[in-house]
Amino acid sequence: MTLSTPLSSKFSYSFSWVGMIGLAIIVFWAVIALAAPHIIPYPIGEIVDEDYFGPMSSKLLFGSDYLGRDMLSRLMMGARYTVGISLAAVCIACFSGTALGMAAAVIGGWFDTVLSRFLDALNSIPSKLSGLVVAAAIGSSINVLIVMLAVIYTPGAYRFARALAVNVNTMDYITVARTRGESILYIIFSEILPNIMGPLLADFGIRFVFITLLLSGLSFLGLGVQPPYADWGALVHENISGLPFGAPAVIVPSLAIASLTISVNLLIDNLPKKIRDRSA
């Protein structure tokens, strides 16, 4: 018991209930995304309704799409693409952005100036525009999408990490480590990274929202995930002709995107100060 007391005070954060709701919805979508192939009521390609844009019913919970396929099954499978692609992209973006940002802060000089100028310039291309240009030039397979989304959001992650790392870099213990003759890699990963981890995690969440929104937007334009696969944005795109009838096939995927992005925002806004502002 004596041992567990300091541990529990270190790891038990007081979450507000709004943050808990956000977390619950995120976990819900993560579980759906993982379990989708085993729990979908109908195969996603099968036409189960003789009518298209069918209404919600006990047989088809979210109605049917423009071909009469089950919307609930398609939505569950769509979660895999929306969550999976966004998560992969945000991991790459935050990893490369943070690594470059910390390196720029520690190395400084020309390396820092040139890299900052270049990435700032990339940052001043509107994200949707880069998406359009890349989709036109290379096409949009899932791998291309992941890399593209990662590249678009790396400059932002870089800027954020660099600003944090520059602050830490002026601390005495960094000077001590330098004097001790530690390598740049050691300073970056053992001295700086642990001290900026909390804000970086919050930034990770915000960037995940940005990436999900951009991916959905591109898919909505028909330039993101291509058939036969469909993420939530693509589901809205293929069912958009049901909009004048107010078909659930258009509304439900939009609500799914909104529920995910708003939940992540809520969770981050309500993160315990301990995590969010640890080095601030």
Partner: protein, 316 residues
């Protein structure tokens, strides 16, 4: 001091110019590096090798990419945007009228959203912590967290499916009365105004609250000024700079919004042209449209920075 401010502004403009150069470089190479030979794609599989070689020479495709970049850049500066691959029309002619349309859409949206956003942002800051403030904050976070197309589809659902006030997803070309103009612009403008205002409200509120937190406003409150008076007469004059900065910054969200809105409402603007160009892989068209949007975006961001410099009393 005046020359110092001037220097700062000139420096900012130079950075914008350099950024534009890097951006055009990035746009060109993203589109020029595409796998496959453009001449072969244009002429099709059945083309003779002679014809392909001839077209390559005519399009300067046999030159190194760096040469082509500078050729393209000098053309761009002289106003020659190249020729569309798809229908062999000068890109400048394709864009011309549509550019006016897009600017009109952006202009109307600005006129609608700035007054609304400023009113909401300033009043929310004035009554910080009240129920009204919390509702405004939650709504703006909601609008920011959902994709633009969802706002557009919601507007269609509300105004044309349930209320039946406006036509759904159709852009009539025959405009005869003022009433029709209003109907046509209503939905795109509502959608864009939502996207832009949400950002503007957040930033305005933050800017005003920053000023309210200063000691001199506290002094005004302590001497007995009412909260509205302290905000409107004491805080607001000093928050003009940050607010102008917020306006310019949030207007840069127009660039992303307009791409979705023009597509969903079939609005004949530059963004729709570009999205159509992407599906036909019409690279000169895409490059030109991308550069136009980048210039607009960069201009707004630079404007925001310059306003911030000018508004900083410490630099005057």
């Amino acid at each position: 001091m005046r020359t110092y401010v001037l220097n700062l502004i000139v420096h900012r403009l130079l950075i914008a110019g350099l950024t534009l150069l890097i951006v055009s470089f990035a746009v060109f190479f993203a589109t020029a590096m595409l796998p496959g030979d453009t001449a072969t794609i244009l002429l099709g599989q059945a083309a003779t090798p002679d014809a392909v070689a001839g077209l390559r020479a005519a399009m300067h495709l046999d030159e190194p990419a760096v040469f082509r970049f500078f050729r393209w850049l000098t053309g761009l500066i002289q106003g020659d945007l190249g020729t569309s691959y798809v229908n062999n029309v000068a890109v400048a002619d394709l864009i011309g009228g549509r550019f006016v349309n897009t600017m009109r859409l952006a202009g109307i949206t600005t006129l609608v959203s700035v007054p609304i956003a400023l009113t909401l942002g300033i009043t929310a800051a004035m009554f910080r912590g009240s129920l009204y403030d919390r509702i405004v904050t939650v709504l703006t976070i909601g609008v920011i967290s959902v994709p633009e197309f969802m706002i557009a589809t919601s507007a269609v659902l509300i105004f044309s499916v349930y209320l039946k006030w406006l036509p759904a997803l159709s852009f009539a070309n025959e405009v005869t009365s003022f009433w029709q103009v209003l109907k046509i612009y209503a939905m795109p403008v509502i959608t864009l105004a939502f996207v832009v205002s949400a950002q503007m409200i957040r930033m305005t509120r933050a800017a005003v609250i920053d000023t309210i937190n200063t000691p001199y406003v506290e002094a005004a409150l302590l001497k007995g000024a009412s909260r509205p008076r302290a905000v409107l007469y004491h805080a607001l004059p000093n928050a003009v700079g940050p607010i102008a900065n917020a306006i310019a910054l949030s207007l840069s969200y127009l660039v992303g919004g307009v791409i979705i809105v023009e597509t969903i409402f079939n609005y004949p603007g530059v963004a729709k042209l570009m999205v159509d160009g992407v599906s036909t892989r019409d690279l000169p068209l895409i490059q030109s449209c991308a550069i136009i949007f980048c210039i607009g975006y960069l201009a707004l961001i630079t404007l925001a920075d310059i306003v911030a410099i000018l508004a900083n009393p410490r630099l005057r």
